[in-house]
Amino acid sequence: MSGAAAFGHDPTDYNAMPEAAFRQVVRRFLAENYPPALRHPQKRLHFRDSRPWYMILARKGWLAPGWPREHGGLGLSAGRQIALIEEYERHGCARSNDMGIVMIGPLLIRYGTPEQRARFLPAILSGEHIWCQGYSEPDAGSDLAALRTHAMREGDHYIVNGQKIWTTLGNDANWMFCLVRTDRQAKKQDGISFLLIDMTAPGVRVRPIVNLDMHDEFCEVFFDNVRVPAANLVGEPNKGWAMAKALLGFERIFLGSPKQSAYALERLGLLAERMGLAEDAAFQDRYAQLRLDLADLRALYERFAEQLRQGQELGPEVSMLKIWQSELFQRITETMLEIGGENAALAGPMEGDRDLNISGLFINARPTSIYGGTNEIQRTILAKNVLKLPG
């Protein structure tokens, strides 16, 4: 458990175990190992803060639950992965810098060369490489066809120029997987390639963006004649978009996880008690509605989870979850504003209850309908791809 291979292996076949037993194992592990100070973080943690948890998972051999065993993963089925994440959520675990685990790792396993796998996968598992995702650009948010960051082949290197934005925890990362335009003539999503960029290379500049929560969760990343070895191209040139899209895997279900709404609803109940409204009939009426909205979300989430457990892929229908969860979360925090009075306008928690940060929760709920594809985009997906409406 030391030296270069700072990551362990857990030989247990959790897929063979009943789900309830597996969940028990996870709960025990969390109770014994999860750093109590990191439970229920109000903000997305930086790597400097979440690193202990990352390394605990690494040593346990649990860092990459979905990767095949031969690449150092746990090889869990989709159903077990859902159970695992649900237990993490229940315990209030922080999300670590997991872009290496959930995005680039699986992509390299599927599309990478043996050399790429040998170089990058162990570095992810050891915590040496922390990855970020470079898709969005200032004029290509929901519309990736407008991507402009350019990579020009020059010998055995690409010369990259351009800019990425909304790079989650880009200031924590030392590697970025990146969509770049390698053919300016090609139309729309063609002509885009998938490139791995060392963020410590000359010409890379990272500028954190402070969000409404006063947190530098996102960054702009600028490329000024950055030289990237051609060996860092994944897959074929100009075929990057299709690969990136294929990566939008079963994790999409987690954008619709009831976790945030459940937490917010519990806070709302607490706030109502603090405000002397717990027995107020008008409040109870609102609360009963929100509670059922959450109960129905759980039922719908469970239906998608069951699909995954049956080994099916998720269709565009899963956008429903994201719409409903994000807007429910928002409605709950709006109700907190309504009953909290002036307390809801404090920058920090309420006096006498450090866990009741109304404005923090309200502000946190805002971007859930923006990130991961705005809810406008999600609704269009439902209308066109599910309901087959024209145009």
Binding site: A295, D296, A299, L300, T380, A383, V386, L389, G391
Partner: protein, 383 residues
Amino acid sequence: MNSSEDSAEAIRMLRESAAAIVPPGGDLGRVRALRFKEPGYDPAMWRRMAALGWFALRLPEAQGGAGLGVAALAALAEELGRGLVPEPLVAGAILPAALIAAADEPGRAAALLPALLSGARTHAFAWQEAAASLDIARADTIAEARPGGGARLAGRKLFVPQAAGVDAFLVTAREAEGISLWLVPREAAGVALATETMIDGGNTGTLALDGVVLGAEARILAPARAPALLARTLDEAVIATAAALLGLMDRAFAITLDYLRTRTQFGKPIGSFQALQHRAADLLVQIELGRAAIGQAARLADDPAIPAPARAAAASQAKARASDAALLVTRQAVQMHGAIGYTDEHDIGLFLRRAMVLSARYGNAALHRRRHAALAPAIDTEE
């Protein structure tokens, strides 16, 4: 595993047999023709449904039933809801059959069921004494004991669905030990039935019992077993009605999507306008929330390990969503059809009318939200 596969197959077959009565093409001419006159449905079709074995769906095989669960009932109700079938399967057959089959005296069940299951005699469960109530215990109808075990019933029951066609009522009444259930033939002395027309063209009955004298054999359930059984059976009716609303809104939505794809305005199909697209997406979300909640309620109802409050709460959850969603979807369906949607000759209005009736039956959304909240402390888990 095997039984769940059996059940899935039985549900598939049920849905298919429903298609015989609800033509997939969606011709609602039959439905339209039966509106606004009594009994509000077609007795021949009623007997045909009986012959398909649907009335005995939930009865154990020992009683000549199919032994199927609430999930199967919900699937059938959904298909019939889709076709706006006016025959009162749940209120007039499933619900009374479950109550009679559970009679304290097994002999009563054996004696009464054949006429019910064949469609020869239509029954109804008459328990309600106030609008917007789902409380069986809220009964001012009195069963005054008579020598020999019979009683004299006096009281008034409201909102008996499609009552115009009913031959016998299962009436809740209060006696010294609590609520009991009595079988009251329509033709009994002291029984008066008044019907009113509902917005969908069906009818509802107000049953006045003015000293109706009944023998001991008329007492189907004594207070010892009645309340729990009645509540559980009513919850199944709640789930089935939610499922009927699901079928109804699903079909109204499909009709509306067709309209959006084909109707053009300003040279484009109106379904290409983003505002309508996004509204349609929101309706889809509501329908699927309803489907998920109903599926969950049926699953819990069929699981003997689930405690009664959790089962009841899930039923309320399903009916609350289904009632609200069905009204929303059908209102929007009319709106999206524009002026034509507001004509009685277009079918889409039929869906709105039926949604108004079924969303109110066995408790509307507001009632079920309150009921869910009241049951809530009992079902709270650590989650």
